[in-house]
């Protein structure tokens, strides 16, 4: 297993290299110029050109790419064109809020969606099943920002239970940390709860028709034991897969959620960097995200061995 994990980690390197080349090339050919944004609206073309030169943006593609790769190989993601801060510092500032949002959303998704899916499968065809699946369709259909605005209006403005925006680090207290994340996590989690609930239901329906479930019932096992111990464990592989995919997709969803709830996370950093053409920051974030994607896939594969002993690498 250990050698498998090491092999997989080594295999990420060419993937990252291809991503790096792709991102760099894409940004190079994309329209837009950070020097224009820096110089301001009233700047003369000469000023813009001088700023381009000072940033090294006038150098040929291969030289720019070469020097970037050299820095990456030395563990240096570069310096933001705009803030003059190291990209690693900027990512570090934003990692906490995004990780917090993702963890709370993921926990919420698992805690709500898996039981809903199990119950829907158990009561397949009933009113409860239809209600849960109706909710799933609703969750799929509503964009994150619509849910976000609705939640903020009801729970922050009208009821005054929770704040509208912001983020408080965990070291400043658990409740301040959590109260800022509840609404964003619900908004972001809606679509994933719907997705995981549907997959759980489908996987459970298949398992519940297996012979060993019938045997368990014949032995007189309770419904809870059958559903959550025997059936759910055997239905876990597709559920784990979709939860894993969900983690990757959460990164995309976080961009919108962080904007709506003014959470200073990586999603907003990405948007800001793209709009300003802050190339080093964009490149650093994309590299990080691609690494996270690869890592999540690896974790999913390893988790398979935990839920299904027949799977070995």
């Amino acid at each position: 297993m250990l050698s498998y994990i090491l092999r997989r980690i080594v295999a990420t390197l060419p993937v990252m290299a291809i991503v790096a080349l792709f991102v760099f090339s894409l940004l190079y050919i994309a329209p837009g110029d950070p020097a224009v944004v820096i110089a301001g609206d009233q700047a003369s073309p000469e000023d813009v050109e001088r700023i381009r030169q000072s940033l090294g943006l006038d150098r040929p593609f291969l030289i720019q790419f070469g020097s970037w790769v050299w820095r990456i190989l030395h563990g240096d993601l570069g310096t933001s064109i705009f803030t003059n801060l190291p990209v690693s510092t900027m990512i570090g500032q934003r990692l906490g809020p995004t990780l917090s949002l993702m963890i709370v959303t993921l926990l919420l998704t698992i805690v709500v969606a898996v039981p809903l899916g199990v119950v829907a499968a158990w009561k397949a065809g009933s009113l409860i099943d239809r209600a849960i699946m109706g909710f799933a369709v609703f969750g799929f259909s509503l964009p994150v920002f619509v849910v976000g605005y609705m939640l903020a209006y009801i729970f922050a403005l009208e009821l005054e239970w929770l704040p509208v925006q912001g983020y408080t680090p965990l070291n400043e207290g658990f409740w301040p940390w959590l109260e800022n994340l509840i609404l964003p996590a619900i908004a972001l989690g809606c679509v994933y709860i719907a997705l995981v609930a549907r997959i759980t239901r489908a996987a459970m329906l298949e398992v519940l028709q297996q012979d060993y479930i019938r045997t368990a019932r014949a032995k007189g096992l309770g419904q809870g034991g059958i559903l959550f111990i025997h059936a759910l464990k055997n239905a876990a592989v597709p559920i784990v897969t979709v939860i894993g995919i969900g983690i990757a997709l959460l990164i995309g969803g976080a961009v919108v959620t962080e904007s709506v709830f003014a959470i200073p996370g990586l999603g907003r950093l990405t948007i800001d960097a793209i709009l300003r053409r802050d190339y080093p920051v964009i490149q650093g974030i994309v590299l990080l995200f691609s690494f996270v994607y690869v890592l999540v896939n690896l974790m999913i594969d390893v988790t398979y061995t935990l839920v299904d002993p027949r799977i070995r690498y």
């Binding site: 329209p31 003369s44 509208v164 658990f174 907003r268 800001d272 709009l275």
Partner: protein, 534 residues
């Protein structure tokens, strides 16, 4: 006990178990009253007011760095860091003396050598500064508190140049920082103004923090814009960036922030209904909408085509698209200069007044030789003001029978593409939209967009000898009457040649909670004199 209290209690108990400690204590009411939470117009992405000339950088810099002179609400330059000044009879030598007791945020005294270095860096990036450099003989420190600027010819607008609020302002920094190449960013933020920049708390794109500088020596006069006594009545100012206006509106209503610099017009009715919120015009100098044509390529290289557009253009359509139906927020502008300011003129503005004459405009367009070639119109969709103007322009041009190539893109792309002097079909353009802060359009000094010196002019590269002649006349003017006369002629020449098409004058609101007092109207948010009760 409300539900929030119950939730807090439950979560607090859970948190205690998870973190093994008590959650942080609530901020004391007194401390909260000494912290002003402000939502700025944009993200403070960099903090070098000479290197980056965005308004948001200028606004933050005004808290941290002081200037030699400051412009007041009457648009007059007033002494700020300077105690006195003298000029020789020939107007070529200026000698300035600094106020005693001025200190930088690192505790070091402000000396003439710091001023010389700061002015040199500023002048290399500022249009008025460049004019001074062009006639400069020497800029030297005479002693610790005295410095001298010797010119080859008089520059009557010297005090205005040092006081103006248009970016870049001549902020005073320590010599070691001010010696940084003006095209490279500074890395230390040691200020000379009433607030210190808390770099350790800076999260670009999210939060910037400013703390009161105890050793700042404010002037004794009453504060007026960038002039007078900059008395800080709060200890801490937090800038909280909110990209989503709806979130900012909700946060203001919920009391999570105290002051929102520029609420969008759509949300103002909601804010006005809230009894805890005050809403008023933020900047009485407002903004001027701009529809810029490329003078290098057909059809707009022919003045008849440009005038045809002006004849058909309805400023009301543009203004309603930008600010909605609130008629208090806009007015027509048959000229280029900010209304209700001393140099405002409508000379030559008849073409923008009265009923729009499409038949005459079509006839003039045909005379210009336009025969249906595509007109590339760059429209930034991520800026509400440019998007609104772009939609109106597309409709206007279609009504004129023009073939519009509507390029919907983002501001970053427009900013880059507008610099291209290639033909429209080869990566260039025919028109784009922008807007200019009214504060920049009071005089020709910092009004880059009105210049019409061809290749050296702003994007669109207009050439208008009449316009340029009057710009020079304004700089040479020795009295307000002379200035008014020059600007009147300038206005007419620029309209005759259609340097650009003004789409109207519009204002924006600012909003703050009623426990905040002292918010002043002006071209930037002034934090001195602002206080907050618990």
């Amino acid at each position: 006990m409300d539900r929030r209290t119950v939730l807090k209690g439950l979560a607090g108990a859970g948190g205690l178990a998870l973190t093994g400690g008590l959650s942080a204590p609530a901020i004391a009411q007194g401390a909260a009253a000494r912290t002003l939470r402000f939502v700025p117009q944009a993200n403070l992405a960099n903090f070098d007011p000479i290197w980056g000339t965005q308004y948001v950088v200028r606004n933050a810099a005004a808290l941290v760095w002081d200037t030699l002179y400051g412009i007041d609400a009457q648009l007059q330059p007033q002494r700020q860091m300077v105690e006195s000044e003298e000029t020789t009879d020939d107007g070529k030598t200026w000698t300035f003396r600094l106020r005693p007791g001025l200190k930088f945020h690192d505790g070091e005294p402000v000396l003439s050598k710091d001023v010389v270095a700061s002015l040199s860096r500023w002048a290399a990036r500022d249009p008025m500064g460049l004019m001074i450099i062009a006639i400069q003989q020497e800029l030297t420190a005479v002693d610790d508190r005295t410095f001298k600027w010797v010119l080859k010819q008089p520059f009557p607008k010297m005090l205005y140049a040092l006081a103006k609020n248009n970016a870049p302002c001549s902020f005073i920094m320590p010599e070691r920082i001010a010696k940084t190449d003006p095209f490279k960013q500074i890395t230390e933020y040691v200020g000379s103004g009433p607030m210190k920049f808390a770099k350790s708390e800076w999260v670009p794109g999210a939060k910037s923090v400013f703390e009161k500088f105890a050793d700042y020596v404010p002037r004794q006069e009453k504060a007026s814009w960038l002039a007078g006594g900059k008395q800080m009545l709060v200890d801490r100012v937090e800038w909280i960036v909110m990209p989503d206006p709806a979130t900012a509106a909700a946060a203001l209503q919920n009391g999570e922030v105290d002051w929102w610099e520029n609420p969008i017009a759509d949300l103002v009715p909601v804010l006005k209904k809230n009894k805890n919120i005050s809403v008023d015009i933020g900047d009485p100098l407002g903004n001027i909408g701009s529809f810029r044509m490329n003078h290098l390529f057909a059809p707009f290289n022919d003045v008849r085509a440009r005038r045809a557009v002006l004849m058909a253009l309805s400023q009301e359509d543009y203004m309603r698209a930008i600010v909605g139906d609130d008629t208090a927020l806009w007015k027509p502008l048959p000229g280029f200069f900010t209304p209700d300011t001393p140099l405002y003129s409508e000379m030559g503005g008849e073409i923008l007044k009265g009923k729009r004459d499409f038949d005459a405009a079509k006839k003039l367009l045909a005379e210009s030789g336009y025969s249906g070639q595509p007109v590339t119109c760059l429209v930034a969709q991520d800026q509400p003001i440019t998007k609104a103007q772009g939609d109106v322009t597309a409709d206007l041009l279609k009504k004129l029978g023009m073939n519009v190539d509507f390029v919907a893109t983002d501001w970053g792309t427009v900013g880059s593409r507008r610099a291209a002097k290639t033909p429209p079909g080869q990566g260039g353009w025919n028109m784009f939209h922008s807007w200019h802060a009214g504060a920049d359009c009071i005089t020709p000094a910092s009004y880059t967009a009105i210049r019409a010196n061809g290749d050296k002019a702003w994007f669109g590269w207009p050439t208008s000898a009449g316009t340029e002649k009057e710009v020079t006349a304004w700089f040479d003017a020795k009295s307000l009457d002379e200035e008014k006369a020059a600007v009147g002629r300038l206005n007419k020449a620029a309209l005759d040649d259609v340097v650009y098409a003004p789409t109207g004058f519009f204002l924006t609101y600012t909003a703050w909670r009623k426990n905040v007092s002292g918010v002043a109207k002006g071209p930037l948010p002034f934090f001195w004199g602002v206080s907050k009760s618990a």
